[in-house]
């Protein structure tokens, strides 16, 4: 097939498309001829890491993905779980790392927009978002601007679209210099028997294009190199997409309306590799062919080539297979919402992917093989060497416990992230029971009494030191945060951010983390239902910290039986649930007070996690716990201070202990307050859970034996001050 106006496919062009020589051989063998330029573009898009998961697939297969409540596991736009009463929760997390570094505001907005689309494509109305952000060293000259842009972008999209952003994470570490991470999670609610999928069915069905017009957005570097061939190469085209939350809000309402009217057979959003991926997926999943006519595609720019249209990543677009008899009705709905609506193709019985443009057949490929025959690599990996366990006795303590606490709470790692989440509308919808600032966010389901507990977690420094334990810990912490509000953890989405998988050490991190994640999911009955892999997060040969972000979803049967972390009143006993050895390796204390980022991370005993967590949850549901907080970064005293700061109520502790006890990061622990310490202790003993009374709530200061009293208001001031002060001289985006 030779096509007018298209460049000839040369080895150089193949290389510019990121296809390796053996991958190209595979293409030749598959189609029996030289591909056209547009076909080459399609292969490069379908077979790149992002779409094909070629480096990660073999390892992802090991993850547990089922449970009785799982309706849809990985493989669709988002995962779906059953929460009873005929309702389902649809959720997924996705990264938009690289674009957010190039253009932080737009990169973040389009990340949020993309994940929201994944969720409402399945027929769910988004009810919450979360965001997990990693930035470089605060002292790096670019960091402040990246934070300002990304946070404004996450808010800018979610606030306008109208979904509450209720939780997330934010960290700084020099290893993210040059590679900040933006992971966005969306959670939606649907009727369990009205979930929509991508698989087309029926021959001769109209394929409909919906949403915004197609422009030359996000067409990749390889394309730029060959842009001279196009009709108008007047200026170097940016590869950054611009988000349009307004159009997406209209798209949401229009999609839900036509789904409600039962017009839809199949639906797929146009995400990465836009029209290509969505059309191929619809056909391949339905064992059908697809015949597209690009002359019908609504375009924003003139003279767009087939290549450009097939690879454009313009946002806020969808592809649908409609019931033919409902075409008029659907068109009217879309027009009412002011959105483009065009029939751009039909399903065929041939299992071929045909693309026509200007009278030419530009593409004629076997549709299933485009996806199924993508290369899969079992890349070589080396296991990350184990690090030495640090003996707490060998750690020097340069300051008193009280001073260390005040210092820690004002570090970039542990300071309040209020500056971030106050830029997010977290109350819209009227269902946010627990706002950001607690363990998991709690969002009421419709009029209740059910509610969802939502969290996003990972501790990258643990993953770096020991990928397997770090992977386990990320899942365990998500499980723990849900438990700490009284939720029953149901399922997770994972967003795996790593460096270059072609390096055996990085691949070793990846494999180790996945093993840990899988093991934790299995032990905690907390399957993976969706996820996303982001590789090649590397600058100057240095990868990011391995960052497998875990987005967790749990269920509360009755949200009035939940716990928050704030102390409720004076005179209540403070109990520590779980064992404390004083693990300082990889702790924030060791790094930010001791100046040593060293050692093995705390090990995670999953059976103990489960036992301790199950007890805490039942204490909450039975009303015996008045405040609950899980212990994570910073350890016991940091968690206790957070409970005090959230309430303005102090505490008197009578335990005489050392720094390792107060700041160690041993896992599977919680702080609980109660009016009836004896009853709780008895229950813990019966369940075989270690419990220890630390002191009592009350007053306005935190008192520890042998330490100066710590004023809660002062602590809070320092805790709240760091981030706003750091961001104060951020240059406001013009």
């Amino acid at each position: 097939m030779a096509i007018r106006n298209e460049p000839t496919v040369t080895p150089q062009l193949v290389a510019e498309h990121g296809l390796k020589p053996d991958e190209y051989e595979r293409i030749l063998a598959l189609i029996g001829r030289t591909p056209t330029f547009t076909e080459l573009g399609i292969f490069s898009a379908m077979w790149n890491e992002h779409c094909s998961y070629k480096s990660s697939k073999v390892h992802l297969r090991g993850l547990p993905i089922s449970a009785p409540w799982v309706i849809q596991g990985p493989g669709e736009n988002a995962g779906v779980i059953d929460i009873g009463d005929g309702l389902a929760v649809v959720f997924k997390m996705e990264s938009h790392n690289h674009p957010s570094y190039i253009e932080p505001y737009q990169g973040a907005t389009t990340g949020v927009g993309g994940i929201l689309r994944d969720v409402f494509t399945m027929g769910a109305r988004p009810i919450a978002c979360l965001d997990a952000l990693s930035f470089g060293d605060p002292k790096h000259p670019k960091t402040r601007q990246l934070v300002a842009g990304v946070v404004a972008g996450v808010g800018g999209y979610g606030n306008s679209f109208g979904v509450p952003t209720v939780g997330g994470q934010m960290r700084f570490h020099p290893r993210y210099n040059g590679n900040n991470l933006v992971n966005a999670m969306a959670v939606g609610l649907a009727e369990a028997d009205k979930i929509f999928y991508a698989a087309a069915s029926g021959v001769g069905m109209p394929i409909v294009y919906l949403g915004s017009k197609t422009g030359r957005d996000g067409i990749h570097g390889a394309t730029m190199a060959s842009a001279e061939f196009g009709a108008d190469a007047e200026e170097k085209r940016p590869t950054v997409q611009v988000g349009d939350p307004f159009s997406e809000k209209l798209l949401l309402e229009a999609c839900l309306e036509i789904m409600e009217k039962d017009c839809v057979i199949a639906i797929q959003d146009m995400g990465a590799a836009g029209l290509t991926c969505s059309a191929v997926e619809m056909g391949a999943k339905g064992d059908l062919g697809v015949d597209l006519d690009l002359d019908a595609v609504p375009c924003r720019e003139t003279g767009m080539s087939a290549y450009e249209m097939m690879l454009s990543e313009s946002q806020e677009r969808m592809l649908m297979v409609l019931k033919p008899e409902k075409e008029q009705e659907a068109a009217a709905i879309f027009r009412k919402w002011g959105l483009d609506f065009a029939i751009v193709g039909r399903t065929t019985p041939t299992q071929r992917f045909i693309v026509r443009h200007g009278g030419d057949v530009m593409v004629d490929l076997p549709i299933k093989e485009l996806g199924d025959e993508a290369p899969v690599y079992n890349r070589p990996f080396v296991e990350t060497p184990k690090r030495a366990v640090i003996d707490a006795k060998d750690v020097k303590h340069p300051m008193a416990v009280a001073d260390a606490l005040e210092t820690l709470l004002a570090t970039p790692e542990l300071c309040s992230k209020r500056w971030v989440w106050e830029q997010y509308d977290h109350v819209i919808g009227g269902n946010t029971v627990q706002r950001p600032g607690g363990d998991a966010a709690v969002v009421r389901v419709q009029d209740g009494p059910k509610a969802l507990a939502l969290t996003a977690d990972v501790t990258p420094r643990y993953c770096e030191a020991d990928p397997y334990e770090g992977g386990k810990q990320a899942v365990a912490e998500a499980w723990r945060n849900i438990t700490a509000v009284g939720g029953r953890p149901l399922a997770i989405t994972d967003n795996l951010n790593f460096g270059n998988p072609e390096k055996p050490e990085i691949m070793g991190q990846f494999v180790g983390c996945i093993r840990g994640i899988g093991e934790a999911c299995k032990a905690l009955d907390f399957p993976v239902v969706s996820g996303n892999v982001s590789l090649y997060n590397e600058t100057n040969g240095r990868g990011i910290l391995p960052t497998p972000t875990i987005g967790g979803v749990g269920l509360l049967d009755d949200f009035t039986r939940s716990a928050t972390l704030a102390f409720k009143t004076g005179g209540e006993a403070i109990l520590l649930i779980g064992d404390t050895a004083g693990w300082l390796g990889q702790s924030v204390y060791l790094r930010d007070i001791g100046g040593r980022e060293e050692g093995a991370p705390p090990p995670v005993d999953l059976a103990v996690e489960k036992r301790n967590g199950d007890l805490v949850r039942s204490l909450i549901v039975d009303g015996q716990a008045t405040a609950v907080h899980d212990l994570s970064d910073g350890g016991l005293l940091v968690a206790l201070a957070e409970m005090a700061m959230a309430s303005g109520i102090g505490a008197t502790l009578d335990a005489t202990e050392d720094h390792a006890f107060w700041f160690g990061e041993d896992q599977a622990r919680y702080l609980v307050t109660t009016r009836d310490a004896d009853a709780v202790t008895a229950r813990a003993k019966a369940a075989g859970v270690p419990v220890r009374r630390l002191g009592v709530t009350g007053g306005a200061v935190l008192t520890l034996p042998g330490e100066r009293p710590i004023l809660i208001t002062k602590l809070r001031d320092r805790h709240e001050a760091w981030l706003p002060a750091y961001m104060a001289d951020a240059i406001v985006g013009a």
């Binding site: 404004a152 209209l250 830029q423």
Partner: protein, 233 residues
């Protein structure tokens, strides 16, 4: 209370508002599409909810203010009918000329979502009848452009005629720049029209009505309206 909620493309708190009106009055409000040219017969309260009408792309509320349905709202207001604009609704009312002044970008140039405290300046209006004078209520805000400004003369007039109904305040009711999160002139959070029948306010009383979720201080506004309309009927 026969309420009608206007729905412009990009509005996103219409469901929150509808739920609250139902909760307080027991009656579902009518949802009125922006392209309509008339309000449902018998409408006694028009509500313009929050959101980002038309993406707030030109100026907040500017495009919506010129939509067909706004002529019907003007006519309703001219007859003395009640109009409540919240957040984007307030911006739309200013842009449409139904209220004076404008909402500029927050002084800190960032979107802010948090609970704020409002001092109720007078209780003898339909929009404040559910409160006591000088009562302090806690309600959330969620906006990037809520910084009320007007020229000196307009401000003097608003103040002189007692048309500032809600003001940002400290928890104990003091007017204090530290508690004026968006920098609004005279800490203005909500004003009424000359006739007193059109209220615009930035905070979201509709999000604080349900004890199960949190504070219920927003309820008074809707309960007051409901009682007022019941008496008038």
């Amino acid at each position: 209370m026969k309420a009608a909620i206007l729905v412009f493309p990009g509005i996103n708190r219409e469901r929150d508002m509808a739920r609250t009106l139902k909760l307080v009055s027991g009656r579902d409000p009518a949802m009125v599409w922006h392209a309509e040219t008339a309000l449902p017969a018998g409408t006694d309260l028009v509500v313009i909810p929050g959101g980002f009408s038309y993406g707030d792309y030109l100026r907040c509320g500017a495009i919506a203010a010129r939509a067909p349905v706004m002529d019907a709202v003007r006519a309703h207001a001219a007859k003395g009918g009640l109009v409540l604009g919240v957040c984007n609704g307030f911006q739309i009312l200013c842009e449409s000329g139904l209220l004076p002044g404008l909402l500029m970008r927050n002084a800190g140039l960032k979107f802010i979502c948090r609970d704020v405290y409002l001092r109720v300046e007078r209780a003898d209006t339909p929009f404040t009848a559910g409160y006591k004078k000088n009562q302090v209520i806690r309600v959330p805000v969620a906006h990037g452009e809520g910084n009320y400004i007007a020229d000196g003369e307009t401000i003097a007039k608003l103040e002189g005629e007692g048309r500032v109904l809600y003001r940002y305040a400290s928890p104990d009711g003091m007017i204090d720049p530290d508690w004026n999160h968006n920098g609004a002139m005279n800490a203005i959070a909500g004003i009424v029209s000359e006739r007193g029948n059109v209220l615009g306010m930035m905070p979201h009383p509709e999000n604080h009505v349900d004890a199960a979720i949190g504070p219920t201080d927003g309820r008074g506004l809707f309960a007051g309206l409901n009682d007022h309309l019941a008496k008038a009927a």
